[in-house]
Amino acid sequence: MSLNIAQILFNSLLTGSLYVLAAIGLTLTYGILKFPNVAHAEFITFGAYFAYTVADIWKLGFPSGAAAAFVVTGILGVATHLFLFGPLIKKGASILHLTVASIGYGIVLRYAMQEVWGRKDLYFSAYYPGFDVGPLRVTLLWLSFIFLAVAVVAIFHLLLTETKIGRAMRATSNNPSLAQASGIDTKMIIMLVWFLGSALAGLGGVMKASDTRITPVLGWNVLIMSFASVIFGGVGSIYGTILAGYILGFVENLGVIVLVALGLSTEYRFLLGFFVLVCALIFAPQGIAGITFRSIRKRWRAVG
C-alpha cells in the first residue's frame, strides 16, 4: 500500500476542521462557566437534523440548510442558557450540578430529536462528485468546509484581537468577575458565546452529516474528540483548541491507516482520542494554552 501523504494531510485538515468547529463552543462555555457541557453533543446533532429539514424536506437547498442550521442552533444555545443554565447559576448550583443538568438536558434533547426525526439514518440528497487535484481526491463540499473552518478561525482571530466585543470576550473568559467590575456587560458576552459556540457546533454537525449520515448519536461520536481537543488545547483557550483540533485530526487520519495496516477495526480511532486525552491530562493539564494569546502575539512580533 503506497501512502498518499498529500491525501492524508488533506483529510486531516478536513477532520480537524470538524473538531475545531465542534470544540470552539465547548471550550468557550467550559472556560467561562467552568463546567463541561455534555449537551453540546446534541447541538451538533441538532444542527445536522435542522439542516436536513431545511435542505431536503423544505427543499431549499444545502447551502441555505447549513446557514439555517447555524442560526437556529445558535438560538437553541442562547435559549439553553436563558432557561436552564442561567437560572441554575443564579441559584448557585455547583459545577457538578451544572454538569449533571447538562447530561439530563442532553438526554431530553437527544430523544426529542429521535422523536421528531425518527431513529433511521438520514442522508442529504445533495451530492458532490469528486475530482482530482494533482494527487488529491477532493470534492467541492470538502473544499468549502475547509474554507469555512479556516474562515471561522480567521474571523474569530480578528474578532478577538481587533474588536471591543472580542476583547470583552477574552476578558470574561479570563476572569469573569474582574471583567464585570471593569464595566463589561458579561451577561451579554456570555449570551454571545452561547450563540456562537452552539452555532458553530451546529455547522460542525452539518459538516459531519453531509459526508456520512445523520443519526441520533452523531454528536455523541464527535464529543469525545471535541473534549480531547478542548483539554489538549487548554480549557478556555480558543487558539489552543484550534491547534489541538487540527493535531487530533492528523492523529486520527494517521491512526486509521495504522489500524487498517494492523488489521484492526477503524472504530479504534476513538482510542487515539482517548490516548491523546490521557496524555494531555497527565503531561500538560494546562493544555497547549501555555501558548496564550499574548505569547503568540509576542512571538509573532519577534518574528516580524
Binding site: 467552568k34 463546567f35 463541561p36 455534555v38 436552564l84 437560572p87 441554575l88 441559584k91 448550583a93 455547583s94 459545577i95 457538578l96 450540578h97 454538569t99 449533571v100 443538568a101 447530561i103 439530563g104 438536558y105 442532553g106 438526554i107 431530553v108 434533547l109 437527544r110 430523544y111 426529542a112 429521535q114 422523536e115 469525545i224 473534549f227 483539554i231 484492526l264 477495526s265 472504530e267 479504534y268 476513538f270 482510542l271 482520542g273 482517548f274 486525552l277 490521557v278 491530562l281 497527565i282 493539564p285
Partner: protein, 300 residues
C-alpha cells in the same frame, strides 16, 4: 399476561443491582467528592470477566471473584493517572473510559463482539420453576447488597470515612494533616469499582446474555440519577434512589401498554428521565435524604 409477582421480584432484583452501583458511586462522589461519569465501565468489566470465566466452565464464585478483582484493578489503574486531575477532568476521563471499554468489547470478536456473550450459566440450579428461580436470585442479590452496605457502613463510620469526607471538603487541609490523600482516593476508587464489578457479575448471570450495547453511558447517568434521588452521601438513600427510579421506570413500562400515546414510549421514557434529572437539580439538588451523620462517640 405477565405474572405480577414475577414482575415485582424482577424489579427488586434490579433494585438490588442498582442499589449496589449507587452505593459505590456514593462512596466516590457523595463521600469523597470524586466525579465518576463512567460507572458503567466497571459494571461492564465485572459482567464480562465473570461471564467469560463461567462460560468456560468455572463455578460462579470464581467468576464473581474474578469480576471483582479485575474490576477493582481497572478502577485502581484508571485512578492512578486520573486522581491527580481536577474533579471535572476526572469526570470526563471516566466517561470516555466507559465508552472505550465498550468499543473494545464491541470490536474484539474473541470477547463476543457486537453480539456479546450468550448462555452465561445462572447461579440457580436448573429445573426450578420461574418464581422460585427469581426468589433464589433475589436472595443472592440481597446478600451481595447487604455485604456492600456493611462494607460501606463500616468505611464511612471509621477514621477512614472521616478522612475521605475531609478530602471532599478540603483536600489541601486534609493533606496538611499528614494524610496521604492520593492513597485514600485510590482505595475508594478500587473499593467502589469492586462493588460495581460484583453488581455486573451478578447481572450477567441473571440475564444470561450480555451485549456491549447494554452498557451505554446512559447506565452511568441512571446511577447518578439514583444517587441524586436518594441523597448524596447517604448509603440508605442509595437503595431508596434505586427503588424510586426503577419503580418509576417499571410503572412507565406498564402504563405505556394502557395508554395510547402520540409519542414513542421509549423516547418518552428517556425524555422523562432527563426532565426528572433537571427537576431535581433545580428543586432538590441535595437529594431526598440528608447526609449520613458522623457517628457520635461520646457514649463510647
Amino acid at each position: 399476561m405477565v405474572n405480577i409477582e414475577n414482575f415485582i421480584l424482577d424489579m427488586f432484583i434490579y433494585v438490588g443491582i442498582f442499589g449496589v452501583l449507587s452505593i459505590s458511586l456514593n462512596l466516590e462522589y457523595g463521600f469523597t467528592g470524586l466525579w465518576n461519569f463512567g460507572k458503567v465501565a466497571f459494571y461492564m468489566i465485572g459482567a464480562y470477566t465473570s461471564a467469560i470465566i463461567t462460560t468456560l466452565g468455572q463455578p460462579f464464585y470464581i467468576g464473581f471473584a474474578a469480576g471483582v478483582v479485575v474490576s477493582s484493578l481497572a478502577g485502581l489503574l484508571i485512578s492512578l493517572p486520573a486522581l491527580r486531575l481536577r474533579e471535572d477532568y476526572l469526570g470526563i476521563l471516566t466517561l470516555v473510559f466507559g465508552e472505550i471499554i465498550r468499543i473494545i468489547l464491541k470490536n474484539e470478536y474473541w470477547l463476543g463482539g457486537p453480539l456479546g456473550i450468550r448462555g452465561i450459566p445462572s447461579i440457580t440450579p436448573a429445573g426450578l420453576d420461574y418464581t422460585t428461580t427469581l426468589l433464589v436470585q433475589l436472595a443472592s442479590i440481597t446478600v451481595i447488597a447487604a455485604v456492600c452496605y456493611l462494607v460501606a457502613y463500616r468505611l464511612i463510620h471509621s477514621p477512614f470515612g472521616r478522612v475521605i469526607r475531609g478530602i471532599r471538603e478540603d483536600e489541601l487541609a486534609t493533606a496538611s494533616l499528614g494524610k496521604n490523600t492520593f492513597r485514600y482516593k485510590a482505595s475508594i476508587f478500587a473499593i467502589s469499582s469492586a462493588m460495581a464489578g460484583i453488581a455486573g457479575a451478578f447481572m450477567g448471570q441473571y440475564v444470561t446474555s450480555i451485549t456491549p450495547d447494554q452498557f451505554m453511558p446512559f447506565v452511568s447517568f441512571t446511577v447518578w440519577m439514583m444517587v441524586m434521588l436518594g441523597g448524596f452521601a447517604n448509603i440508605e438513600g442509595a437503595f431508596l434512589g434505586a427503588f424510586l427510579y426503577i419503580g418509576f421506570e417499571r410503572a412507565a413500562r406498564i402504563a405505556k401498554d394502557y395508554l395510547l400515546l402520540p409519542i414513542d414510549p421509549n423516547n418518552l421514557m428517556f425524555i422523562l428521565t432527563g426532565l426528572l434529572i433537571l427537576i431535581f437539580v433545580f428543586l432538590r439538588p441535595q437529594g431526598l435524604l440528608k447526609e449520613n451523620k458522623v457517628r457520635d462517640y461520646k457514649g463510647v
